[in-house]
Symmetry: D2
Subunit: 242 residues, 4 copies
């Protein structure tokens, strides 16, 4: 996948077709041949730079009709579970597919992500998003994950849905010994129920965290954390099948 | 790689050799044959469970004589740079190799991590750590990275050393268009110098953050953030070669 | 001072004069006689409750043309300096007088606040604000505080101006043994200069903090920190004349 | 009240009696006559400086057998309620009296603090602490506050006890129109119950916050937040009798 960037830094998904913008158009041929680092010119002479698409660029640009988990939380999930190349991962619900894409990007061709989504419309959007990014290891299924997980011998199960506790028993069966369940939940009441159910089904090393990111402004005027901040996204809970 | 876990949850690196503990010993044969999920018994009848080693388990147990970056910060680095399977990554300084291992775990066989360490003793420790974990895509070099980066067409360059700005010019040349430089630095003065140098060499999208993780206690007595917290580790600065 | 609160909770400063609102008017007589707890009715039958003005109510409603320090930071300043009834306090710059009012409210009739403001227009606004609230122990002066502090034997000196270090030498002379200097500054560079100058003039117990307040939402849907937060206001630096 | 400070900065409560230390003794006469700023010498020639006692100095040195609320939280309580000179305040439970002393220090001679403590031993300790500091406006009562609040027309009621909701109905009756109830509670479950009960008894403007203070290290080596931090003390909940 490639991205085009205009003169002001705005980014666009690059496809193998004529590209129309406010700055003029770029020919199909140029679009097909542009390699990362190349500069493509519109018929009006404006320049667009070709970049190799980074997963974050793509997620920012892709179609989505539901909220997605921020990179800060994705990072905590992948680092705390030790997710790596070759891992087998379950993701639910898919939503527009941001977490599925992030995980697919990490586990690579030797790994696999199976992502469950209960709604058909979201399943379609997510499938398109995965296909356009070109990941073949991410499979989107239109299924209610509370009815069961079809995969076995899984390394990580990530849940971002209102009642993650309904999936804990299935998760226990699907996970490898040593595997992780990870959940994202905005409310502390969800965390409380989850802990009870995780303990009931014998999960170990329960750990709930929240990640507060602060951005620092480094300007000529001076250095300081930014005035505005995100106060809360969700609590991340981890547990292990030991 | 496999891990052994005793009855109290303490973990040990599993090797193909007789294993001696306070709870008795396990035979070489049992050690060689134990698969994740198996229970191995010592001659005194104590049980040890075999687990597939997770990267975090391993880093906790491996030899290290220098400080390592916490998983919270590793997660922000990998998520913000969009590091994934197949990526080519530079890491410096290696230290005991924790960041190199994390990156190697993510980029997989189709990717590659080259990690520079100026000190010979640390280079040796890190090489052993990488070899023992079994990653073949991570290469540790005993080199001063301020003298140059040998690789080209790199996706991510991560720097955890006192004067990251000395590497910015080399980073610019080594990175792909669209690639990221990421640095970890405890002091705000380092961030200030870095921003100047990053701008001087034409990097874009400068972004400095700090990640404050809070652990939540969910107990019978009640739910609350833990009393003790890590107040600061380091500032993470990202910039892009656009 | 009294406050009027309408049926939706909106507050207004109560004066001894006819009071006109979108809900009709209240007579001068009613306005003069209304005591905290009374309900005053407009000629259209709408109700306004009389409250004893709290300092925070008043500051929210008073005239101001410059930024004011938030209650969270006011609280840290007064608690860390141990400000109390009878204390003699210096405040600069006055701005609209929010800090001066808070301090005046605490030090009471036996104490005194002298507040310095370089701009005439702000001095006038602040004087009106102080007079309207009815504090006789707060004196606003139109003076550049870098030219000297006229008072001696002072308990606390609070500085909220761009170059607080220019006042450190004067502060040293004006403070009691055991007295505190406290400053508010948005940029870390200001804190760095300040520390150097505070040490140069023999101040002790230097302490810089930032106060991050998080608001918690307790709703039927669930409990969680609010999504939006203030990421930074200013660094608070304290030092003592020992 | 006065404080003595030795050559290393360690502080001691100064009484009108001979003072014995590791550095020798100071005569009763010198102790009686020492004024803030004076240097008193021991018979061995060591110097002790006399300071006017700040409330924080005193609370650090006084007898206490129970936990006390940190200055950061005291500050939020006093600033958010707008506590000032002349206010009538209720405090419960007293514990060693730290909050009662802070409030007494602010409300001054024209104000009054009534503090309720259920345990006789703590009541005695707190009474001694108040008397030694010399505050005549703080009254410690050995009473269970859940059985009723004797005072009326109160500006602020502060509760630091396990079941603050048991006091809400009494608080409603004791408070002025416009007055505040403020509570400190470590667990989120306490906050949840409290909100229900506060609403039931008609309190307005419910607001729960937590105050996270970060200390900044400004050293020759560099500037950074301190590594260690307090992760949580208690949630502060405010509501108003409107
Ligand atoms: C917030 S979205 C997930 C977003 C996704 N994690 C991301 O960051 O891109 C939650 C999704 O879960 C789906 N969902 C809810 N319950 C489900 C269930 N039982 N099985 C599968 N999907 C479910 C919803 O339809 C919704 O699309
Ligand atoms: C804090 S450690 C790195 C730890 C590592 N990132 C981790 O988390 O495991 C910093 C290392 O950088 C090395 N170093 C310092 N300057 C260097 C240079 N110019 N080139 C290569 N290594 C360097 C030091 O010897 C030290 O081992
Ligand atoms: C941010 S405002 C103060 C706000 C005030 N602390 C509050 O919270 O209400 C800063 C004020 O300092 C004043 N100022 C700047 N330099 C000054 C000086 N040297 N002497 C007195 N006032 C000064 C400015 O005119 C401005 O009104
Ligand atoms: C944590 S301490 C208060 C500390 C105090 N706020 C301070 O910061 O110094 C709580 C106190 O509440 C007292 N207490 C508990 N229930 C009480 C009740 N119903 N009435 C009065 N005091 C009570 C306990 O005995 C204990 O001393």
């Amino acid at each position: 996948m490639r991205i085009l960037m205009d003169e002001r830094g705005k980014k666009y998904i690059a496809r193998d077709e004529e590209f129309h913008t406010n700055f003029g158009f770029i020919t199909k041929e140029d679009m097909e041949n542009g390699k990362p680092g190349d500069i493509l010119k519109t018929h009006l002479g404006h320049e667009f730079k070709v970049l190799k698409a980074n997963i974050n660029d793509y997620i920012d640009l892709m179609e989505r009709k539901c909220s997605i988990i921020l990179p800060k939380d994705i990072g905590i999930i992948t680092a705390f579970t030790g997710m790596g190349s070759g891992d087998r991962v379950i993701d639910a619900g898919t939503g527009a597919g941001a977490t599925a894409l992030h995980f697919g990007n990490i586990v690579g061709k030797e790994g696999e992500v199976n992502s469950y989504e209960i709604r058909e419309d979201f399943t379609e959007i997510a499938k398109r998003n995965v296909e356009n990014f070109g990941l073949e290891n991410v499979h989107i299924k239109c299924k209610d994950i509370t009815e069961g997980i079809e995969e076995k011998d899984v390394d990580v199960i990530f849940l971002d849905l209102p009642r993650p506790w309904d999936v804990v028993e299935h998760a226990k069966e699907a996970l490898k010994i040593g595997g992780y369940i990870a959940t994202y939940a905005p409310y502390i009441e969800q965390v409380q129920v989850l802990h009870k159910v995780l303990k009931k089904f014998g999960f170990s090393d329960l750990n709930t965290v929240e990640c507060n990111l602060r951005e620092i402004e480094v300007k000529a005027k001076g250095t300081r954390p930014k005035t505005r901040a995100v106060g809360h996204t969700g609590y991340l809970t981890f547990a292990r099948n030991l």
